[in-house]
């Protein structure tokens, strides 16, 4: 028996696997048992109704996809009146993701959403599909600090912040978020990309630029998780390109306490359940009594070969 529970700060999860925001809704009850998830993460919500970006909204690329959905939302009122009760039919903790246009808007959103029937507030300051420069507050440490400091003051509930891989220096951004009082980091959102259709000469998606996700970005995000884990004390949730059990393990070895999954669900609708089951099996086979012991267990030494001298750097 493997103990699959993990704690993301004060939040206890029955297992470390949850969906990425925007890749999950209760519609998935069509194909899977939502109660098996570590947590439910709702689609990012804004205060007002937003239609989102023009279609086509997604396109395949080698090793992944790009999307520009544009954060469509029915607004905060609809969220609490219809979506939250709908989520509450299921047992896992509910993470609400919020977005805002200005720092004041973010603060007000945090205040209003956190007092609702949700368990965790996830702050999406990193959506690349709204700002063509590739993110939002999460591109800069100071901006992140300012917005997170204000948000932190609005609530006692756990606050997670979703960082942007488009930041030039994600480590200082992570440290700024920690200083501002964030309880956990989600590393990371999508990477800004462009695909041009060589038949039509036009961008492949309606908004021209879109966020890259899927297995192709995994080495980049695993690196960021590792760098952040070395630099902060708060837990990290790894997110980007997990499509098999070993990918989840890799994120945890790099320092993640839990993981989020997007892309996989599109191809394998109940893939998250398979990852949960597979992770338990993997731990059992490798003799890990607690999945939590994987966190940060990477051996930070070169992969020395048998005869050490042959691999050692010289000169």
């Amino acid at each position: 028996m493997v103990d699959m529970r993990v704690k993301v700060g004060s939040v206890s999860l029955q297992n470390p696997v949850m969906p990425g925001s925007g890749c999950f809704s209760t519609d998935l009850a069509q194909v899977m048992d939502i109660n098996r998830l570590g947590a439910m993460v709702a689609k990012t919500v804004s205060r007002e109704y937003r239609a989102g970006n023009p279609p086509p909204r997604a396109a395949e690329v080698e090793g992944g996809m790009i999307n520009s959905i544009g954060l469509p939302t029915k607004g905060i009122k609809y969220f609490f009146e219809h979506q939250v009760p709908d989520y509450r039919r299921f047992r896992p903790p509910l993470v609400a993701s919020i977005s805002g246009t200005t720092i004041e808007d973010f603060e007000a959103m945090a205040r209003d959403v956190a007092k609702g029937d949700i368990d965790v507030l996830e702050v999406n300051i990193s959506c690349p599909t709204r700002d063509p420069k590739g993110g939002n507050f999460a591109l800069h440490a100071e901006h992140t600090y300012e917005v997170m400091k204000l948000i932190r003051a609005t609530t006692d509930k756990p606050v997670w912040v979703k960082l942007s891989p488009n930041a030039g220096d994600i480590v200082t951004v992570a440290q700024a978020a920690e200083r501002a009082g964030a309880n956990a980091l989600v590393v990371a959102n999508t990477i800004l990309g462009l695909k041009i259709n060589t038949d039509t000469f036009r961008p492949a998606i309606g908004n021209k630029f879109g966020g890259l996700s899927g297995p192709g970005i995994k080495p980049i995000i695993v690196r960021m998780v590792h760098q952040c884990a070395k630099a902060v004390k708060i837990p990290i949730i790894g997110c980007g390109g997990i499509v098999k059990v070993e990918d989840a393990v890799e994120y945890m070895l790099a320092g993640a306490t839990a993981v989020m999954i997007g892309y996989l669900t599109f191809r394998n609708p109940s893939g998250m359940i398979a990852i949960i089951d597979g992770l338990e099996e993997w731990c059992a086979k490798r003799g890990f009594a607690r999945v939590a012991d994987l966190t940060g267990a990477m051996i930070d030494e070169p992969p020395m070969e048998t005869f050490a001298a042959a691999a050692a750097p010289i000169g």
């Binding site: 925007g22 048992d33 997604a58 996809m65 959905i69 899927g214 499509v243 599109f266 394998n268 893939g271």
Partner: protein, 288 residues
């Protein structure tokens, strides 16, 4: 690497009992053996698979999201939606009629008899049939013809008369006319002899309306013909349904990739083809 073609554990048709599961899970991933897979003309293929009990609950207008094999060494990612063209519940079979247009359908076309097709479904909101209707008109073009098969079959089973207007480039591409003939009258209109022109189709529809053989309209496959039916439907107060398409990622509702524009009381809104459709009210749809 992606490893296995699916991380989840699909229902394997003919190999295992359906896994025990809570009753509220209406769709599933299943591995369905290919029974038949033939070209019907130079562009379209007819695919018949053995389907799982859950898959066989599919209703007219619903679709499956198919894991098409890659046609080359590159990876193919998104599933490809295909609506069901025919269901044979007695023999436990589901049929698709599809056009080879790009990498996904080219990959699909490589499946051989006996290969297993990974399908997720049944998905989406299908056609509604009001038993009070006495006669319906279905108007399809190209692949749209496939989508209109099951509703025509259902109408016939409910003793509702069907006139099927099948529009195609030329006689080679009037598919399934014998199948539609079983369900009712068939009118083929072609580009080659000009009969497919909107004007001419309008005349045919006007005639059916005059004969009171048009209690409801159904269409799929052509924006031009959809706009025509919408206009006539509005003018003559005939209820209508349209099956729409859009690029999909999840096929299940969460991702909001598959939206189209709709208009209700002058207000535009976006709806998801995969879960709020693919069948929509004809007057609310804006087109594509």
């Amino acid at each position: 690497m992606m490893g296995e073609p699916f991380a989840s554990d699909p229902y394997v048709v003919g190999k295992s009992a359906p896994p025990p599961e809570p009753p509220h899970i209406p769709a599933e991933e299943s591995l369905c053996p290919v029974v038949l897979h033939d070209w019907v003309n130079s562009e379209y293929k007819h695919l018949v698979v053995e389907a799982s009990p859950k898959a066989l609950t599919v209703t007219p207008g619903q679709f499956f999201n198919l894991l098409c094999p890659s046609p080359d060494v590159g990876e193919l990612f998104f599933r490809r939606p295909q609506s069901v063209y025919r269901v044979n519940r007695k023999r436990g079979r589901i049929e698709f009629l599809y056009k080879c247009v790009g990498r996904g359908t080219r990959g699909l076309s490589t499946l051989q008899k006996g290969d297993a097709l990974n399908m997720v479904g049944p998905l989406g909101v299908g056609f509604r049939l009001d038993p009070a209707w006495r006669h319906i008109v279905v108007l399809g073009r190209g692949v749209g013809i496939a989508t209109l098969g099951p509703i025509s079959q259902l109408a016939r089973d409910n003793n509702v008369g069907v006139t099927a207007i099948l529009s195609a480039r030329n006689a080679d591409f009037v598919m399934a006319d014998t199948f539609f003939r079983e369900a009712g009258d068939v009118v083929s209109v072609l580009d080659t002899d000009g009969t497919s022109a909107v004007d001419n189709v309008e005349k045919i529809l006007a005639g059916l309306i005059a004969q009171k053989r048009a209690d409801a309209f159904f269409t799929c496959g052509s924006n031009r013909l959809f706009q025509l039916m919408k206009r006539l439907g509005k003018a003559h107060n005939i209820p209508g349904q349209v099956a729409m398409e859009q690029v999909m990622a999840c096929g299940l509702g969460p991702c909001y990739v598959c939206v189209r524009t709709f208009e209700v009381d002058g207000k535009k809104e976006l709806r998801r083809v995969c879960i709020e459709g693919p069948v929509f009210d004809m007057q609310e749809a804006v087109g594509w």
